[in-house]
Amino acid sequence: MTECPACDAHVECAAMVAGEIFPCTDCGTELEVVTTLPTAVQLAPKEAEDWGE
């Protein structure tokens, strides 16, 4: 359990892996798991122009 850097809501990412992207359940901001032990998240990277498949 940690806090969303955008809205301070508690976010849970127990079953996730570092690098995983997920939305904050309160404000919907896309977050990225930085570490799982201890749990830390940051704002997900912004999509760049050359991103794609």
Binding site: V17, A18, G19, E20, I21, E32, V33, A44, P45, E47, A48, E49, D50, W51, G52, E53
Partner: protein, 283 residues
């Protein structure tokens, strides 16, 4: 399949696809080295990197392309190879390859100035489609209905900072049904296929298109494999449209997302990817 494989995964973020690959690798006992594209730097001298093969899952075309060039320089095989990423990830180079391979593809004209773009649009005829040469998910694509719209869109594109918006990839608008086809090719095999349906003219899964499994008949399989081979082969998602004249290939994607295809077909695509990556490592 060797459990002793040491796999490097070059990635930006962990989407469901990367998570499945990581989990499938762990289940096989494969040693995985995660290589974060935001943190890596590349020395001309080979580093001590304990991997047998690299799988590119970066969402950035330029990062993936340059990184795979360096890994090849270090003597490490990559999936896909840099040449494949360069061709398939750049719509201009990709179209050239498709045309040279005799694969049906929408009529396309590339213009290098705004003035030439307007001439190209006149030649293609309206409606036409303007696409950025690099990028996907239907982003920054425009369907242009007339000259007035074209002038406005081109003015906006020129105002964007990136030089790639001053290169104009002009393509005929294909009046297709409310769907296109995606065929995933791994090596010389069609692994799976789906329809992507949308009321939007852009039928990208990233834009909310609905997926439906599709069992491709032999001619579709053969066409998809030819398109993948035209790019140099590897793990490639071939996108096709049902044009009035028949099937046309409009795009080949070198770092395919497969969440929708997997959901539609029930296939274990991460496992098939690892099979192929292990095969490349053994070559």
């Amino acid at each position: 399949m060797s459990d002793a494989l040491r796999l490097g995964i070059f990635l930006t973020i962990v989407r469901p696809e990367e998570k499945q690959i990581l989990q499938a690798a762990e289940a096989r006992g494969i040693t995985v080295e995660r290589l974060d594209d935001e943190r890596m730097a590349f020395d001309l001298e080979p580093p001590d990197l304990p991997v047998d093969v690299i799988l590119n899952r970066s969402v950035s075309h330029s990062r993936g392309l340059y990184a795979m060039r360096f890994f090849a320089h270090y003597g490490i095989p990559t999936v896909n190879a840099a040449d494949v990423i360069e061709r398939a990830g750049d719509k201009i180079l990709g179209s050239l390859r498709l045309r040279e391979a005799g694969i049906p593809t929408p009529r396309t004209i590339v213009a290098l100035t705004p003035e030439a773009a307007l001439i190209a649009l006149d030649q293609i005829g309206y409606p036409a489609v303007l696409k950025p040469p690099i990028g996907s998910w239907g982003r920054l694509m425009a369907r242009v209905h007339n000259r007035e719209e074209a002038e406005q869109i081109i003015e906006h594109k020129v105002a964007l900072a990136s030089p790639q918006h001053s290169v104009f990839y002009v393509q005929e608008y294909v009046p297709k049904p409310d769907r296109d086809l995606r065929v995933l090719v791994i090596g010389r095999t069609v692994v799976g296929a789906m329809y992507r349906r949308s009321s939007d003219w852009r039928t990208n899964a990233a834009r909310g298109a609905e997926s439906e499994a599709f069992e491709p008949p032999e001619p579709v399989r053969a066409l998809a494999i030819r398109a993948a081979e035209a790019m140099g082969g590897g793990i490639l998602a071939v996108d096709l449209m049902e044009a009035p004249s028949g099937l046309v290939v409009h795009e080949v994607n070198p770092t395919p997302e497969f969440k929708s295809l997997q959901a539609a077909t029930g296939l274990d695509i991460a496992d098939r990817i690892l099979d192929y990556v292990a095969e490349v490592a053994r070559r």
